[in-house]
Amino acid sequence: MTGAATSPFEGHVPVLRLGGVLLVTLQGDLYDSTAEQLQQDIGETAADSAVTGVVIDLSGVEIVDSFMGRVLSDVAAMTRLLAAQTVVAGMRPAVAITLVELGLTLPGLRTALNTEEALRLLGAEVAALPRAGRARGESP
């Protein structure tokens, strides 16, 4: 894989663990290699721990093309094989409209309006919610 080491968008995206749920927050523009790395990181984390769900927060993402779409679908398929569910949270309307026109309907991906709703969908511990907020540095 090619890519310069100069950009903040390259490398590992942090995979946070909240009880049985993995929380991934994507921001800005991702390198293809970063997206592929993320897929591998989620797979490894989900495999060696009792993970029941994965939440991918897309609210900071301005475009999803077919490459990123494939990564999201693959993560969903992979986590299903590991007996976990993936929920994509906070997709921007412009991104959703574009994905449909592109022809990517992302079958198998569950969606939620935001991270908290995604965690609720997954039946995560309510107690884990405030920690999720703090970990992402959100204001209440």
Binding site: D32, E62, S66, F67, T98, E101, L104
Partner: protein, 147 residues
């Protein structure tokens, strides 16, 4: 339709992952400057990402030329993606949804065509592929108060 073509505002190389990010950022900036709405911006940036990746992955690298154009007072952005790769043997097949010669989803080329206002492709075996797309700032004027 007659287009008055501006000068080429930029020519970006497409030789790496990093270049794909730069192409997306450049198209985002240009469409924002031209006053495209958020959805139109996102569509053209996404189409550019698909076409740039095709030039990189299938064409072995290439470049994108970016030109602002205008027609009848409407502003637009024209993007020309070119590579000196193997070319596309069967264009209809390549444009059909789900066809891929690699391990992609096969949605990039046909999807990009749907995301832009004008799309043309010129591909010659052993010489290369050039894809030209144009989108217009078709955002209607702000709704006025009732007269």
């Amino acid at each position: 339709m007659t287009h008055s073509t501006g000068s080429v505002s930029a020519c970006l190389p497409i030789n790496s992952d990093l270049d794909l990010v730069r192409v997306r950022q450049h198209v985002r900036q240009m469409t924002a400057q031209l006053g495209f709405g958020l959805v139109e911006q996102t569509k053209l940036v996404t189409a550019a990402s698909e076409l740039a990746r095709n030039a990189l992955v299938h064409g072995g690298g290439g470049q994108m030329e970016c030109t602002s154009v205008s027609s009848g007072g409407i502003q637009g952005l024209r993007l020309v993606f070119s590579d000196q790769g193997p070319g596309i043997v069967d264009l209809d097949q390549a444009l059909s949804d789900g066809y891929t010669s690699g391990e992609g989803l096969g949605m990039g080329l046909g999807g990009a065509r749907r995301l832009v206002h004008e799309f043309s492709i010129d591909s010659r075996r052993g010489i290369g592929t050039t894809v030209t797309v144009t989108s217009w700032n078709s955002r209607p004027p702000r709704p006025r108060e009732a007269p």
